[in-house]
Amino acid sequence: MNRATLLLTNPLVLATLSILALLAVGETLSPGFARGDQIIRLLTVSAILGMVAAGQSLVVIGGREGIDLSVGAMISLGAVLAGNVMAGSDGGIVPAILVAGGATFVVGLVNGLGVTFLRIPPLVMTLGMTGVVQGGLIVLSRGIPSGNAAPSLMSFVNRPLLLGVPGILWLWALVGIAMWFLLRRTQLGYAIYAMGSNERAAELTGLPVRLIRTLLYGLSGLMAGITGVVVIGYTGNSFVSVGDQYVLPSVIAVVIGGISLAGGSGNYFGVMLGAIALTLLQSVLITLQMEFWGRQLIFGGVLLLLMLLYGRTKQLRV
């Protein structure tokens, strides 16, 4: 394979190209689409998706068919808890983050325990957990005022903080750096790739595989909870299904970002690009003047095209 094809099959390059292409299409369809402030708003939405996808990435890289379908319910849980805790006051932001993140971290750990110690397939465990968390939310949110976002949280998410860029984007950048550091500079990161690649071998080199896997699901929960806090900052208040729309996009962003669903490969920068590409695609579709079904066809079709570019599994005859 020569350099050029190698470059073209690199997920990072592909995602970047998709982003540029989508921006060009958007700008052509509606001038102003690729304007600076508009791009920042798009990035804000991407950041929300990107943060859930961070947890999703860890779970997927960790292997054993890792996937977390309960992130949606956990975002809702985080948002509802955070809304109630901060109840519209700035002083409540820190406790809100702690409560939301803490609760979803625990839910995630339960997912992890089910997956590792009871050996329930992740798809099934997290799907089942979704039902439980949603049910819990309905019980929880009844009668309790579903709270409001604190003003500073809302301006952190929606208004420029530094250099014309909202705080949420700085936070996302921080998450990106933290993910890089975690995956490339800590024993935990090395262990995640190792166990994703070959669990048995990881055990035989002394890595506490089950503990780590449990922790990964916990971290995915934590990221979902924090995303919930961000979401309530974005929408102002919370409701029980606010997180549902992020579940499958978080998986798709991971795949577009070049992380194989088989585990043991990929990195978070690709996922960040994947989240941006996916958000852009949805935006471009909204600006298209067409019936809903037409947008659906294009959305599905573009996903398939992306699959064609780099979501393909290995050939049997090599």
């Binding site: 500079r185 790739y193 070959n198 090599v318």
Partner: protein
Amino acid sequence: MSPVLEARNITKRFGAVTALSDGSLTVEPGEIHALLGANGCGKSTLSKVIAGTVAPNSGVLRFNGSDIAPRSPRDAEALGIALFYQELSLVPQLSVADNIFLGHERRTAAGFIDAKQLRHDTEALLQRFAGVAGDGFSADAPVSTLAPDQRQIVEILKVLARKPRLIIFDESTAALDRRQVEVFFDILRSLKADGVSSIFISHRMDEIFAICDRITVMRNGVTVTTLTTAETDRDTVVHAMVGELAVPQRFARNSAVAAEPRLVVSQLSSRRLDSVSFDARPGEILGLGGLQGQGQSAVLRSLFGAEPLTDGSVVLDGKTLTLRKPADAIRAGLAYVSGDRGRDAAFHGRSIFENIAAASLVKERRRLVWPNQLKQRFIDAAAALNTKYDGLDAPIGSLSGGNQQKIFISRWLATNSQVLLFDDPTKGIDLAAKADFFTLARGLADQGASIIFYASEDSELLSLCDRILVFNSGAIAAELTGDTLTAFHLTNAAYGKAA
């Protein structure tokens, strides 16, 4: 007589790796033809090209006088070619019978699977290995419940059930014990009598000289020569395989074994072990011998915390160890190298650096990883074994099997462990790599390490070990030292109760 198979100038590249640059092979009707060569020289790749599993980049294949280009294993099978896959082609979830006749199920008139016939045919085939196949080997047993040797037998029977004209056996004896190999050889001979040609790939020189008519030797993806067994000898073959490299045959025993034991193992018991007690000294290479599956691997894995113990104690340097998980053993200074590297060692798709680093990170409790602090150490460890690789950032898959195994040994050299547990580490690696390994093992012992070494090949134990514990049914049946370190005593002890 025209040859059954002619392969000429076959080339195959996997991305950047050239697996075959000139693979050629000619097999006569009714011949047992050995294909020999170091790890990674391309034997399996050539076999897979012939069997249609791998698409060659160029080259010519002729079968029974006409050009062929099998595009799938199905095509090859239709021609009468079958391959025993080195890594086996069994479906663990299906039963022995289902596996053997997969794709060849007899059907009733209505098109349903004829379960009765299937069972009947399977039992007829199993009959061939009756008495040597071990417990739990039946037509209905799921393959996932079988031991490695039993799986190899299923793969052999599966190949036979296809009634091919040419069979390639790619390391089909790797997990078989002596009695099983004998049965297999009988099968080979009867195939030969029926005019079926076989290509036999093995790293066991004795087997090749025992059964093969001719020997084709490959090196680095190129076929170097074809010899007639009757007209050649071991040394000639070895020279053809390794080129200029000399292979030391015996390794001087260490005279300076310390008197005080370092590792004292008493009364180890578990599902597979029955009160095993022994000790190991610094500077000593302690061998574990006996027929396969008598508890040798179980001892090593138990010592490493990878298999649960029901009873017993392990004392290292005067301290009693608690071995609940491998990390306990690693931090106490133990290391474990398995011969089944694909399953037990390789982080597929990850870099060589990551493959080496894992154990050091655990042993040294490094929470943070700064690659530059570790690189030199890893390069040194790999160099100690003459490992050939492109750089620490290359993926592990770019190396041949033998070189991969060297990396997995380097993984433990880098941790500077003092007690090394080797679980058939040379399985399926070539002679040159074995020689590198033996030299290294002896060197480590000389520097004061204790080595406990299990090998499925007796000759390896005899040439390397200072002392051998012979296992039978999970217990130590005999201890061989000094004058009793001979093939005769070893075989005797191994078969003591079993036969």
